[in-house]
Symmetry: C2
Subunit: 604 residues, 2 copies
Amino acid sequence: LNTFKITVLPENKTIEVSKEKTLHLALAEAGFPIEGTCGGRGTCGKCKIKVIEGQNALSVIPSKKLSHEEIEAGWRLACLIPISEDMIVMLPPKAEEGDRKTHLSGKDYYPINIDLKKKHLVLEKPTLQDQTSDLRRIALELGIEKPQFTPQIIKKAPEVLRKAKFDVTVTYIENKLLDIEVGDTASELYGVAFDIGTTTVVGSLIDLNNGKVIAASAAANLQRGYGADVIARITYVSENNDGLDTLQKKVIETLNNIIENLVNKTGIKRENIYSIATVGNTCMQHLLVGADPTNIAGSPYIPVFQDSINLSAYQLGIETNKESVIYVSPNIAGYVGADTVGVILATELEKSDQLLLAVDIGTNGELVLGNKEKMLSCSTAAGPAFEGAQIKYGMRAADGAIEEVVIDESVNIKVIGNKKPVGICGSGLVDAVAQLVKVGIIEASGRIIAPEEAVDMPEDLVSRIVKGQNGYDFVLYRDVLGKDILLTQKDVRELQLAKGAIYAGIKILAKEFGVEIKDIGKVLLAGAFGNYINIESAKIIKLLPKELEVEQVGNAAGIGSRMIIASDEEKQRADLIAKKVRYIELSSRLDFQDEFITALNFGD
Amino acid sequence: LNTFKITVLPENKTIEVSKEKTLHLALAEAGFPIEGTCGGRGTCGKCKIKVIEGQNALSVIPSKKLSHEEIEAGWRLACLIPISEDMIVMLPPKAEEGDRKTHLSGKDYYPINIDLKKKHLVLEKPTLQDQTSDLRRIALELGIEKPQFTPQIIKKAPEVLRKAKFDVTVTYIENKLLDIEVGDTASELYGVAFDIGTTTVVGSLIDLNNGKVIAASAAANLQRGYGADVIARITYVSENNDGLDTLQKKVIETLNNIIENLVNKTGIKRENIYSIATVGNTCMQHLLVGADPTNIAGSPYIPVFQDSINLSAYQLGIETNKESVIYVSPNIAGYVGADTVGVILATELEKSDQLLLAVDIGTNGELVLGNKEKMLSCSTAAGPAFEGAQIKYGMRAADGAIEEVVIDESVNIKVIGNKKPVGICGSGLVDAVAQLVKVGIIEASGRIIAPEEAVDMPEDLVSRIVKGQNGYDFVLYRDVLGKDILLTQKDVRELQLAKGAIYAGIKILAKEFGVEIKDIGKVLLAGAFGNYINIESAKIIKLLPKELEVEQVGNAAGIGSRMIIASDEEKQRADLIAKKVRYIELSSRLDFQDEFITALNFGD
């Protein structure tokens, strides 16, 4: 009796779990969308679950991260509950995953230019006078001199040819025959372009005959239960013997779920997906192919690979046509990945006469400064705050998140989905802080003033300044049930660290390039967060230089991934870009630390 | 209780078997070297086993194929015994497998000319000033511009590099990095060249740095329990749902056993085998890669593939380095396979000024007539008789086989291993018939005369002519215990069919080529059987035209396989040869039937 049954609501799925694990790990391993940014230490409070049945679980000392009402209602932290009994637990209300991320604001058509092809063939039947073998018969018809064959077509060819009376469709790439089907299926040629984020994975289903985006689907990266950011994931890999395997399986499971969703949405056959392209940060790309990212974490921060990798679906367990060709896009360095290559592809930064600064803020923040002459890049540990991590009421940009804040006599908020607010997302956070800086409740140093310092301010605003754990907090939303949403002093500090790192990174890149900030022609703001952020607010908090023009370019990384899957030329462009961009390592530079400290302030 | 335990002596291995099977199938599946040329119908008598314990097994009605003494001693046919109890059984004394076949009489050195290489690298260690990734660091040192990587090297590289302090050896082929090892292992680069016969498989371990043949090993093809010849194997595939899978697994198990043996013999590491090449008849090549050979069996006799196939070891489950490159040599047609391509390679027939006839007699008999201008080939169902099948006392060329026969006043025999004779192999059979034709005991028509017709013949010979089931038989060896070895009238008929087919094939090839038999410059006799046959006897029985010079070229197919693994140029030569040889289908030709009937006689 070393296993127990855990029934998970609202899915009403039951899993069997051995007793060495915590509930958090068990749920994460079983693929439930449970979060955990502290890596199971009971400190982040993100892995809340409601215990419906389970005496031992309820007797676990409740975390300080939970309110009194939550504790009363049976909410506990899954990472503090050892498996010691059968349980029924309820997951917290699920935010709609990645709503924003699927809106790539990219084109819905990408020019096709690929060697992967399907062709309908009506072949002559063999006779005693023409004993050509099945596969050479096909190769001759395709005009392929030295054909190569996959185990799949070797196995299927004789039966399919005869079932189809030699009227078949063959999928091939250059001289390699991948698959064969009965009849004319030449119009069924699909690929999925993935943008693998640390937090969210987005897949776009592309018709590889005409370049149309047929559907897109996003899902939480199932690795999320093993750490919120890349460092936490790498730590999990280095501290667990099977950590690399586990995280590789989880990201592939995520991809497979998205593929399943795309297939269900559109009614296409998964066997007709013959191509996969991925972009993502270097760590995500490593975990996808099973490369150990451990050495990215410690100086001198060395990845296993930078160059693009070509594999077949069966080698990774991706559930498309088993011979689907996988192009894992090239990375620039340990902390500037293929997602940044995607941004450059999509913005054509590497062809630009004008000096451009691309800023992609996801869980990490990557910067590229360059033009057609040269490109420099760097990475800053910026992201978690903008994605809701380490922020007391932080959450992803999903239903219930405060996404816009305007402060005048009082506080006006806009909530995603027009729901009752349950937290604040990155764009809301930036807005809130900018507005509070503007009215003077947050000083240039980042300190939230005490109510008694708020001279001549509207009464409602003053009443929202409340004593917090560290200094004062500000009530963004007052809830009649007492579930107020606060911006804490600590939240402001987190934001300062994040935006200061990005701003300092921009300064260092300009310095290395030999230009001043004002010489930069334009800022290209990429990523889901960058797409929704209020530019004015971003300039007020000095996330971005206020003197520069800013263009929001949408999820450029994801657009790059679509361009790559649609065109072999874009693949080559990606390979060249990844080699051309020079990476600047900030961590070892004293001048970065100087710039960083200077950039922490909100004032000039 | 649906499984029973079968203990198999002399190995003393115990297997668990479910009761739906026959003992024959169970032993074959478990990899024991049990024969069965009739496919489990109890008619060929080749699957003899001795029942030590097993009442039900002993109560099975003994086959007529067993002598009274054998039945008394507990011998039964395994294919007639259903699994219905625990048993202890003994396999018949094992003949040393393939003694003859491993003596390829080829060179022990083959010039190396391959893209597969190993290189010892002492790399600069990464620093903050040089953050090049592990794999690009390697590729740069190798001068590879656009590297490709296997999952194996992606997984191993970071750990191996650091364990080795960046002193490593990398295996690569063109721009693809296959593997990485600690320290300098550049001298450990091996390949195995296989000759996959229907009956026997031979593997040669080659040092791919210097081309030396380090070891050779032969084993019975473990498919043998599923039928003696290619037609029986194809029948098994088409009559059983998992037949193709089963036979593929069996041949791969055979290859793995040989690899195991080569590794044990030489002490090399199996991970240092990076290359595999195979030749074999078209059916064997199909079963190896999992291609359904069914359509080879029925008109118009269409194979799945002819062109060479490149795979990796892990795709077939071959237990070498998992990224070992496999080259499955090209086939000419459904019944003229890569083994014949190997013969042409080894004999350089396709470069010859002189018109040459290559004859390779294995389980099938393949013929090639040609020179540097053109080449024609055909196949005849010749083999089984020469390899001991369908011959009453037939056996493979192994210890105890009568291999030479000289008849004067009496019968003089030479037995392999100087043992007491237990049967007769192909060369002995040809000798015996030739000698009996010479002394007149066998007539030109093939009839064994009655004793009363043997006028003026030595008394001992006359006394050896005994009444048989069909006409008369001849006692080749008299045994005091009554276990005489006979050449039966039926045996002579089998030999006539086999040699008649080959001779008629030669006639048809000459006709198609537009020449007379006498215009052929030389006969090249290949194959283990061809190597041991007495040429004089072969001419007497009209297996080969008596007017032609005959050169025994050894196991040319196996030599071709060694040439192929040692040189990419030879691989290209093989591809070209397979395309250049024109295949003549004999089965549909009325003129072949005429020639065949004419060629059945022993006289002129």
